[in-house]
């Protein structure tokens, strides 16, 4: 869309759906929900999906530890090599995968920032299968924006946001973006001049 040569007047209209204090509240609620569903922090493994899912998994793990006073295992699960669109795109550099010990018979909570097409989660299931056999796999996402292309539903959702397909939902985290927020961006055409 960026057509700088002719300087077509497009603009990125971005609005903040949740600011840092709101994100903090949402994460705290999710931490409680994860604990409630698991009846405590026993046997729980939080796996963040890069990039921002990793930061969110760290936050949730810290919250769960402070609520339960019980350590929670937490790691990173990169799914690049399991993507169904790997070939169609330019070479992607996979991120780190680090699994804290065996996931056999544990309850794995996959953590991602935005649930959209759900293909990332589909790939994550395949990746998990190669890593062990958890007792259960659950999904926690900060934002569910709809438009799923696979039969996947999240168990723990921070915010459900109804979006148009051409909108972009971004989760910002302090560690990478300098602040916590959820934003929606829409690329709008301004005016109709040629």
């Amino acid at each position: 869309m960026a057509d700088s040569a002719t300087n077509t007047p497009t603009s990125q209209v971005s609005r903040v759906v949740a600011d840092d204090s709101e994100v903090a509240r949402v994460l705290t609620r999710m931490a409680h929900q994860i604990l409630e569903a698991n009846h405590g922090a026993e046997n729980l493994v939080l796996l963040g999906i890069p990039t921002r899912g990793v930061q969110l998994a760290k936050r949730l793990a810290a919250l769960i530890e402070s609520i339960e006073q019980h350590p929670v295992r937490q790691g990173e699960l990169d799914i690049t090599m399991y993507r169904d669109d790997l070939r169609a795109n330019p070479t992607r550099n996979p991120a780190r995968t680090s699994i804290p010990g065996s996931i056999d018979n544990s309850t794995v909570v996959l953590v991602d920032d935005v649930l959209f097409s759900a293909r990332t989660i589909g790939a994550a299931f395949d990746a998990l299968r190669d890593l062990g056999r958890p007792k259960a796999v659950r999904l926690a996402v900060l934002v569910d924006r709809g438009h799923h292309e696979l039969p996947v539903a999240a168990d723990h959702v921070g915010r459900t946001i109804h979006t148009a397909a051409d909108e972009r939902v971004a989760v910002l985290v302090t560690e990478l973006d300098g602040r916590d927020a959820i934003t929606i961006t829409r690329t709008a055409q301004l005016g109709g001049q040629a």
Partner: protein
């Protein structure tokens, strides 16, 4: 990336990405299921016109762990020995719908020549005395791990001494080219008879005096004395070679504490490297071997992971 024929094909971003991914790939070796689906449905033919158990096996494992179908073609007993030309052999295999060739050949430039003929992507697994890029990448990978362990990251300012038979070694040229990208400073050490012509254009220091560089080297890479090629009288006796160019226990003692010792293998103990050096705590020889599969997985992924390198 379309082919990997030479380390000169690599820019800093690509070389770094290959080394970074190799780190991830090394972790796969400790998983219960040592397999990633990235190259599912791809076919890789390893065609080796020269014997090499180490390189061929590690390419084969690398391809299999990425879920590619890997097929080994040994040139011995094949149509090559019936007189078929290299071009016809490669075009025949190419016509079967191969996605990539990993090729080892005794003639310098063979891989590049093949790449100009076939639709498949080509990895040079050693061509004559020219290049062996994946060996240089696994050397760099091993060095990088070592530097990190010594608490001193990065290649900039590191002195890498490559010692021995520069003339017959394809590993040297690839290492020199790769270090030009990564930023390490290569010093070549060899008797004048084993220095290739044109070495002055390589842009690195060349010396015949190992003792003058041993104390400041961060890495010493000892090259194998290729006995099968030594009929040419390149040096008087093996003992004399060892005296001047071997990593003897005396020279081992002069190395910096943080220095690492590399050897592409197979080693001639007592000739270019003493057992004391080969088995020293700072010997990286086995780390190099361990890195082989991971580096080759990373290279194959960068070539075949996306369709962008395929023939249009």
């Amino acid at each position: 990336m379309r082919h990997l024929l030479s380390c000169a094909d690599l820019d800093l971003a690509t070389a770094t990405a290959i080394l970074d991914l190799a780190e991830e790939m090394q972790q796969v070796q400790s998983r219960p299921v040592k397999k990633l689906p990235a190259l599912r449905g791809r076919t890789i033919v390893n065609i080796f016109f020269e014997d090499s158990t180490r390189t061929r096996t590690s390419f084969e494992i690398a391809g299999k762990w990425l879920s590619a179908d890997t097929i080994n073609v040994s040139a011995k007993g094949s149509s090559v020995s019936k007189g078929e030309s290299l071009r016809d052999t490669m075009l025949t295999l190419d016509a079967m719908g191969v996605d990539a060739f990993v090729i080892r050949h005794g003639s310098s430039g063979a891989a590049a020549q093949v790449a100009s003929w076939v639709k498949a992507q080509v990895v040079n697994a050693g061509d004559g005395q020219h290049e062996h890029p994946t060996q240089a990448l696994l050397d760099a990978y091993t060095m990088r791990q070592h530097f990190r362990l010594m608490g001193n990251d990065g290649f900039a300012g590191k002195k890498i001494a490559i010692v021995g038979d520069l003339l017959h070694s394809r590993v040297v040229r690839s290492n020199v080219l790769l270090q030009q990208v990564l930023g390490g400073e290569v010093v070549l050490v060899a008797p004048p008879t084993l220095v290739p012509t044109g070495v002055e254009t390589w842009g690195c220091e060349v010396t015949g005096d190992l003792d003058s560089v041993i104390e400041e080297a961060d890495i010493v890479m000892m090259l194998r004395v290729q006995r099968e090629r030594m009929a040419g009288g390149f040096f008087p006796t093996e003992r004399e070679y060892t005296e001047s160019f071997g990593l003897t226990p005396e020279r081992l003692a002069k190395l910096k504490n943080s220095a690492g010792i590399c050897h592409p293998g197979p080693m001639n103990r007592g000739v270019e490297i003493s057992s004391a050096a080969a088995d020293a705590a700072n010997s990286l020889v086995l780390d190099q071997v361990a890195a082989g599969v991971a580096i080759r997985m990373s290279v194959l992924y960068h070539l075949l992971g996306s369709n962008e390198g395929a023939a249009k």
